[in-house]
Amino acid sequence: MQIKSKFIRFCIDVLVLTALFILVQYFITTGLLDQYYQINLASMCINIILAVSLNLINGFTGQLSLGHAGFMAVGAYASVVMTQMLGQPFIVGLIVACLAAALGGFIIGVPTLRLRGDYLAIATLALGEIIRVTLQNIDYVNGPAGILGITKMTTWPWLFGATVFTVLVVVNLINSSYGRAIISVREDEVASELMGINTTKYKVMAFVIGAMLAGLAGAMYAHFFYIIKPDTFNFMKSFDILVMVVLGGLGSTTGAIIAALFITALTAVLQSFPAIRMILYALILIIVMIYRPQGLMGNKELSRQIFGRIWGGRK
């Protein structure tokens, strides 16, 4: 009985997602979604990937990382080197981007995750910046000027696939014993360790997966916007992602998705007023922390039950 209802829910999920995919694809082919909307659509997907993956580190594991843009940069550059310089297909670029960013996450995570709270935040910020400065000094990828004229390979199916992949990985991870181990680190690291959880291992695991997905977002970004340069991935970009995670609620995947959509839309609307956009970001951070430090969603998820209640359906 229970397995059967699980299966039905799974089928509904697949149906809804397929419908969404086909609908958007239809709009793109028929030209209903013009260039402007397509750019925003891509930004939304990329931001969802970034926010959901950072939320795994900051929200679920409770380790404040401020260097997410660095991993995005690693993924972007790794994929571009693969596709543009070594002539590999896009999928190879994506896989290499994920692996490179995961490796970066591992190298950075192992030493720094020993640090606690604000020290870790600053260390990851510094390491993100070191990644950027290092890229500036590599002539093979054109230094500070960056790489121009990247072939556009990020199409809607890729974006959709990458976004669904990210959400699935994070949601399935969190709702498993491994995810509970990760969350216990956030709740009480000492108690978690004494209950037999190798806390270092799970912190690094979350950090590496988060970095890997940021790398995926970087590859998507590079092959959509034609151009990448080290400055695109400075710590302001990391803060952008942080704003989404904080607004959505530390520890809520649906919250991260909603906040990513909202912030992307806000950015699009305020495109001509960058200063106002940043002032709004600032106010969001301050006001959310003072009045609702758990974010819009807290650590709750928007679930079918809630939808059911809203639409007056069965529970």
Partner: protein
Amino acid sequence: MLEFIQQLVNGLSLGAIYALIALGYTMVYGIIKLINFAHGDIMMVGGFVGFFSLTVFKTNIVVAMIAAMLTCAILGILIEKVAYRPLRNSTRIAALITAIGVSFFLEYVTIFLLGPSQRVFPDTAFPIKAYNIAGLSILNKDVFVVVSAVVLMLILQYIIKWTKTGKAMRAVSLDQEAAVLMGISVDKTISITFAIGSALAAAAGVMYGVYYSTVNPLMGIIPGLKAFVAAVLGGIGIIPGAMVGGFVMGLLETMVSGYGNSLYRDAVAFGVLILILLIKPTGLFGRDTGEKV
């Protein structure tokens, strides 16, 4: 050898600026355990107040510096009251995120009001002269920066060591609850700490303007981060540590751009930070304290 000493001299004034900013970081961290991310931006505001004092009100540089210090002291108190005080009992991460928000706020409100472009400090306010001593070229602006920084640090030492306020500050940073029981007003003491720290940052902002002859709304970010590294290097919360750390960072930076690749200039500061955090997170002068189970 002569060139090395010349670099040392150049690094000294930059180090003095970092040390002044680092003092504010360390004092605030010492008292409420918050990395005041907006501290570098307070320095920026100080730089701008100094700039307008020089250009609009045609004051001399000392008056400009005092004006900047007073303005930023008030700004510091205000920021603490509005943004940090409501969060005093929440997690350190929440406070840090708020501080990042305040930092954005100061930067982009300035951009909104004054535009993003940089402004050139007027030459007339501080005519540059170079002295030649024993083959070393020493600029009067370097002398100005180092001397005023040292004077400010001495005043700070006096306040902390010998005045009632200073004693209250030390008491609150050691044990807030005990301080309350001794009749110390914690709120007032924290406000004063913010005021002093912000005033020092403002002075550093004016010096930075004199040193690089420009000010811009985002100028506080990088020196702010470097000063933070200086504070961590010296052992965050430890006042002499911040001074030493500041000078070390200044010297290190001039050495790297003098002898190495100036593109790596900023990365060096971050590299130093990572090294300290990994090897001795409590800094050069810090002591280890473990977590109680």
